[in-house]
């Protein structure tokens, strides 16, 4: 079970307080109407799904209700860093 540092509450909490919300940094296209079906499908469904470093979106559902980002190794489950929405990760895959 993960022990996750909430960047807003500024302390570690148990995984049960959080929900994983998938890959981070997927911006909604600014002009959806200009997207082809393929582009829209890729926005909605296609994912990096890497084995290794992964930037993912979580929400502190039972705590402060804020979304934030986690960089995590999907193989070792090690959390490399957490950062707020709008911030950029400092740990990235090679």
């Amino acid at each position: 079970m993960f022990h996750i540092y909430c960047p807003h509450c500024a302390e570690y909490r148990e995984e049960e307080e959080f929900h994983a919300a998938g890959q981070a940094h997927i911006a909604r296209p600014l002009d959806p109407e200009a997207c082809s079906d393929k582009e829209w499908g890729e926005y909605m469904f296609f994912r990096k799904n890497p084995r290794g470093i992964h930037h993912e979106l979580w929400v502190h559902a039972a705590g402060c209700r804020k979304f934030f980002n986690i960089t995590r190794d999907t193989q070792s489950y090690e959390i490399k860093e957490v950062y707020k929405i709008g911030e950029k990760p400092s740990v990235v895959a090679e």
């Binding site: 807003h8 509450c9 500024a10 302390e11 909490r13 148990e14 049960e16 307080e17 039972a62 705590g63 402060c64 209700r65 804020k66």
Partner: protein, 223 residues
Amino acid sequence: MSDLNVMTAAEMAATKAAVMDQVPGPEIQGQSPLHHADLDSLAKVGPKQGGVHLREHKLLGHLTLRLNPENDDQLAAAERVLGVALPLQPLTSVESGSYSVRWMSPDEWLILVPGLEAFDVESKFRDEMGGHYSLVNSSGGSTVLELSGPDVVELLKRCTSIDLHPKLFPVGKVVSTVFAKSSAIIRRTGEHSFELVIRRSFSDYIWLWLQETSREFGLVVKA
């Protein structure tokens, strides 16, 4: 019966947000979420000795304030209304007379006031504060349980994964967390006493849970 509470559409539009005194006159007695458990009677007939003591603080005014913590005007306005500055440190709380304020999130505070004052406080906020904020009366949706006694920490460790060691959870600290299979806002009010804000619809579940979990310590219900 009077309809003094009626607002015209124009009045409502002008205020941008609808504000409403939701509490009727004193002739109508409200029923707290644990009304059906009849804790007052249990307090009379139940055990007087035990490791965990429980008391419901009923029918308080619960107000949720949302604002931008970087807006000094709003912070000042809040302080004018509450008589104390909003706690900006995560997971802290402050008290001011009969008011208490809990940090819930970087832009959210839960304020408890005496039940009959909720509307006054809300109105004061509306008078004092400008800009983008929200204030929501949630008094009907929650209740407050006070848990205390020598075994209270042992009990809470069976309900929540929060570390309650006094060094990490001093008096005044407040967390919003999973509580059994529900949720609670937990605040430490003393070495052996805590305050739980719980949701109305889950209150019966939590009441059952606390009875079951406290069996080995003995539960004393207080009026």
